[in-house]
Amino acid sequence: MTSDSPAEKRLEELREQAWKDGVVPGRGVDVVGGPIPRKPGYYGQPVVKPPVWTWEIPIYFFVGGLSGMSAVIGSAAFLFHHVDLARAAMWLAAIGVVLSSILLIMDLGRPLLFINMLRVFKHQSAMSMGVWILSTFGACVVPGLIALELHAHHVFGGTIDQLLRIAAAILIFGSAFFGTLLATYTGVLIGATAIPAWFLHRLLLPIHFGTAGLGSAAGLLELLGHRLAALNVVGYYAAVVESVLLIWLSIDKHGMADRAIHEHGSGWLIRIGEILTGPLALVLRLLGLVPFAAMSFLVGALVSRFGWIAVGKVSGSDPESVFAAERY
């Protein structure tokens, strides 16, 4: 008997621990049941259901935000007679609204029944409101773009051209209004749910999603060659707001209830996204590296949308976060 060998000592230790604690945890040995379950809640089962949404939804958040806020830039450009920029912005908005609709329908469990969304109007459902906002936005953007293009190319002359200009103006301002809602309602959509890390940040989410949309629209237009000082200023505004939100998020902590934002892979996605849209984009703009700032913002805006969906999945699967959130 080599009872003083390290291997034998280890076995003695295990026996002592088993006697003392009644349970011996070890790698690959998951004690779930006996003798008394030690996981939080009911065997660690989720209390609320994590979102079933897949990659289409974060990309929809990104594309929808960019599309909606492009219309805002488009209307400002139209108002101040930057016709080329207005056309480019309205093209982005129109392409975005088509892509958004496709992504939204793709994500449905039964895409062919999409049309059922349009049989009711429910103000108490952010999803219903979102569908109506997207539809109205599309109904403004697409004809608005057509009117703008016909007017810009002077396809018709005289009175018709004047009427087209007025129609374009009305439709472009309409799409700017519904565009801001399209970019921000997604924050309400996930903010008004039972997922703790989401509803605890229901004030931050619409601000973040809307501002990320505005900065993305300005950035993409800059990358497309529209290097206006005004777009640079919009880029500064978005980067400053995002930097403030990064500080807000690191101060406004709720412990276990929203740990999905500060821990795990989901926390890293949020942090990387916020740094790319906030401080990094701001510094790059200050250094005059506008295209790099624009790219940083666009990547950050996309990453943080994936981050927030990941946060929902982690937070919704975590029973302790639900119990902890009841205190707020």
Binding site: G33, V52, I195, A230, V233
Partner: protein, 290 residues
């Protein structure tokens, strides 16, 4: 009270749907024997598909949790606590302080059919409706599977059914056997429950019965018996309520469930503020820098 045979509301025919009477389930773990007849009856009557089998290692519970293909779920709790006046350990007879207390508690979980239902409010197609008897019903042929009800349920009940199960893509949960109720029949789970741990009946009758049962149990030494019926929160009470021994957390029940619509006002406020700020910032940028 227990075991009223054919006189029980679980066995009698009724006309609650025609009379528009609010009905409910009262589920009492103190008499549940963990037979899972309710789970089987629910699956058989409603043609809920087989969603696979895995050994969980969690007591006798291999069902796990409620979901799109699990509308009744019998929980098996193992706790180091005393059950009523249970005598535990060899020393407890002599000196009265039990050592190694242990209890096994079974509770059949189900959709709560909230008074203010998160899933119903969230549904953008109108697929989820309130029935004459106060229950919450998903109309499978209307649901397009957007998944918003899934994150809006404060109890984690409703879920989207994955491929390759039948009717995949739609959201499913307990129907309160609305089809049976329309014909004057009792929901399948209550009908088969051998100990009347699940009681079906008029909601007001059941609430009185639940309160009475809590008193009865407390007098018999079940000091931690209480009703789980969150009437004080924004959910404003549930149609399927429970008697529980101990804390709701142990059953995976949120102590203070809230219907997510209460968060709408502040979130929309932030959205409108952002919308206005974005428009003003853009206009100012173009006014002063072009």
């Amino acid at each position: 009270m227990i075991g009223e045979g054919i006189q029980s509301t679980n066995q009698r025919r009724h006309s609650f749907v025609q009379d528009r009477v609010e009905v409910g389930f009262f589920t009492d773990p103190s008499v549940c024997i963990g037979c899972k007849a309710c789970e089987v009856a629910c699956k058989e009557w409603n043609h809920v598909p087989d969603d696979g089998f895995t050994w969980s290692g969690n007591s006798y519970d291999n069902t796990g949790h409620l979901g799109a293909s699990t509308w009744r779920h019998v929980m098996f709790l193992e706790q180091d606590r005393q059950k009523g006046n249970q005598i535990v350990g060899s020393h407890s007879l002599a000196n009265g302080d039990g050592e190694d207390p242990f209890r096994w508690v079974f509770l059949s979980d189900v959709c709560k059919h909230c008074q203010e239902a998160g899933c119903l409010e969230a549904c953008p197609t109108g697929a989820i409706v309130r029935t004459e008897v106060g229950s919450v019903l998903v109309q499978n042929d209307v649901c397009n599977g957007c998944g918003y009800c899934v994150v809006s349920c404060p109890f984690g009940v409703i879920d989207r059914r994955p491929e390759p199960l039948p009717d995949a893509g739609g959201a499913f949960k307990c129907t309160f056997c609305y089809d049976r109720q329309k014909s004057g029949l009792v929901p399948a789970c209550a009908k088969v429950c051998p100990t009347e741990s699940i009681v079906f009946g008029r909601l007001d009758d059941l609430r009185a019965r639940g309160a009475e049962r809590v008193q009865q149990l407390q007098q018999s030494g079940y000091n931690d018996a209480q009703l789980y019926d969150p009437t004080e929160t924004s959910v404003r009470g549930i149609h399927a309520f429970f008697l529980i021994l101990g804390e709701p957390e142990a059953y995976g029940l949120p102590p203070k469930p809230q219907v997510p619509t209460i968060y709408l006002k502040s979130a929309w406020g932030a959205a409108f503020a952002t919308a206005i700020a974005s428009i003003i910032a853009t206009l100012l940028a173009f006014a002063f820098f072009s």
